[in-house]
């Protein structure tokens, strides 16, 4: 199903990670990314891995879900690993034909690969445990100060939530239209690239027609309910910070502090 391979990574749940305020989670991800890139010692890297494992366990995310996010990037991860392994100069460990593996190479490659994996898993954890709508809400609130310099924060976040809201709908619709055309013998799977691209026409035309119709209807519906932009608009679900958010932020700040200390001390 098309629906399974999209942004719809959000898996509803009721763990502490799910309940955290989206702003907290966004901040923590930023802190964590800084942490990953600061960590350059064995202890630092291990600490970053431990942080991730803790978050994964707390959110009851399964390894399979994480792997699903990693899969499209697997090639890049492997390539980075190999390039670093073979192209780092230093003390030679093994020499096979024209390829040399150095001690520094092994170290560097492990470090790079673990960094990328942690980066992907960390940000993936955010989208797995936070609905796209709360992410945009959180972003809107975080970017609010930028309104002063004329950035249309509310409009941007409204556009983003509408886009996110309609991605699954459009996916479902694509599925339905493809089924309907397949029922009339359309063939999307065989033939040259050119033929396959042409075969998509019977899907794209109805899809665009319906997307424009939907956009039109949505605009009318919003106007009927007196939508007038962000000025003076209140929310039904106010975001609110709790003790757990403060604790979580403190924890991540402390972890970052620890990693920086480790880096300075060089252990």
């Amino acid at each position: 199903m098309l629906k399974d391979v999209t942004l719809g990574q959000y898996f509803p749940g009721d763990t502490i990670v799910h309940r955290l305020d989206p702003r907290t989670k966004l901040f923590c991800v930023v802190l964590y990314i800084v942490e990953i890139f600061t960590a350059n010692t064995v202890c630092g890297v291990l600490l970053s891995i431990a942080t991730l494992v803790m978050a994964v366990l707390l959110s009851k995310t399964t390894l399979r879900q994480l792997m699903k996010g990693m899969k499209p990037l697997l090639f890049i991860i492997i390539l980075t690993g190999l390039l670093n392994l073979f192209y780092t100069t230093g003390d030679t460990l093994v020499k096979i034909w024209f390829l040399t593996i150095t001690r520094q190479g092994v170290y560097k490659s492990l470090q790079m690969v673990s960094r990328i994996i942690m980066l992907i898993c960390g940000s993936f954890l955010l989208t797995l445990t936070t609905s796209p709508l709360s992410i945009t809400d959180g972003l809107e609130r975080l970017l609010n100060p930028l309104k002063k310099v004329g950035l249309p924060v509310h409009e941007l976040s409204m556009m983003m939530s509408i886009a996110l809201r309609f991605i699954p709908t459009l996916m479902e619709e694509t599925d339905k239209i493809m089924s309907a055309q397949k029922a009339r013998g359309a063939d999307f799977e065989t033939g040259s690239i050119f033929r396959r691209a042409r075969a998509l026409l019977p899907v794209l035309v109805p899809l665009f027609v319906s997307a424009f119709r939907r956009a039109d209807e949505l605009a009318t519906a919003m106007e009927c309910r007196c939508y007038h932009g962000g000025e003076g608009r209140t929310r039904m679900k106010e975001l609110s910070m709790h003790t757990r958010d403060a604790l979580c932020l403190l924890l991540f700040a402390a972890l970052l502090g620890a990693v920086i200390t480790l880096r300075v001390l060089g252990i």
């Binding site: 339905k176 029922a183 009339r184 109805p206 027609v209």
Partner: protein
């Protein structure tokens, strides 16, 4: 012509995720050729899922779909040919129109079959005729049509492939009563003139009672009842428990019987009701 058989069919949507949903549990069903079968069931009972297995749009999670005794998923080629033998008009089919003109859109299916020239034209006209699309519309853009006209063009697009098994998923939903009757009458005519099998999903009990030769009731992914309209509508209480209505004529029969009139079982159409009442009066006017 063609017999279609479902064996131990099971379908689970989004297997292995928190959204997992068993849509079909264990379906065993044989549909002989040239039968007009109506599928009934509460919303969400799995009717659309069931019919999408018949032409291989959905692949069973387990179990098999046999067309004339052969599994339709045995090869890509076989699956492709099945699509032409088993024509499926999906629920709300009007969104599938895409060509510049009505004629070209109806011709999409038959030209995918490899038809050309006069044979193609003949198929298009046949489809349009059975679906009630008048030839004046042929040069119009499908986007300029009314909802009901779009529906008919979409149905014509499937009929133009002259499928030996025709499946219609709620073809009359949202149409005016006259339009409904017209479409159903045409479907019946298609079945009789071409000797095809027709499988119809409907929420309209009166229509179902009037045209069905056999009724299959789906409930929560299983087949709950299977029989002639008389047999099925005789189980009025079970139908009501499944959240289904019974035809008006059957309701009247039950009311009359409660008032002490000796009404025979198996009344589901207005004509049968009239006959029964006439018989009560001793055939006199």
């Amino acid at each position: 012509m063609a017999e279609i058989r479902l064996e131990q069919l099971r379908h689970v949507y989004s297997q292995g995720t928190p959204f997992e949903k068993v849509a079909l549990d264990c379906i065993n069903l044989t549909i002989p050729s040239n039968q007009l079968l109506v599928l009934l069931g509460h919303t969400g009972s799995g009717k659309s899922t069931l019919v999408q297995h018949l032409n291989g749009l959905l692949k069973p999670t387990s179990g098999s779909v046999l067309l004339d005794g052969q599994d339709i998923h045995r090869s890509k080629q076989a699956l492709h040919e099945t699509r032409f033998q088993v024509g499926l008009v999906m629920q709300y089919p009007e969104y599938q129109l895409f060509e510049e003109t009505v004629y070209k859109d109806i011709a999409f299916g038959p030209s995918n079959m490899g038809l050309k020239g006069s044979e193609l034209e003949e198929h298009v006209r046949l489809g349009a005729n059975f679906a009630g699309v008048s030839e004046e519309l042929f040069d119009k853009s499908p986007l300029d049509l009314s909802g009901g006209q779009k529906r008919r063009v979409a149905i014509a697009g499937v009929l133009a492939m002259k499928p030996g098994i025709l499946i219609l998923d709620e073809p009359t939903a949202g149409l005016d009563p006259a339009g409904c009757d017209d479409i159903l009458a045409n479907v019946k005519r298609y079945k009789e003139e071409t000797g095809s099998t027709v499988i119809l999903i409907s929420h309209n009990m009166n229509a179902a009672a009037a045209i069905a030769e056999r009724i299959v009731v789906v409930c929560k992914g299983n087949i709950a009842l299977d029989g002639t309209p008389d047999e099925v509508f005789a189980r009025a209480r079970e139908l009501r428990e499944m959240g289904l209505q019974i035809p008006d004529a059957t309701t009247v029969r039950l009311l009359l019987r409660d008032k002490g009139f000796a009404m025979p079982d198996g009344i589901s159409t207005a004509q049968e009701l009239v006959d029964a009442v006439m018989a009560l009066k001793g055939g006199k006017n």
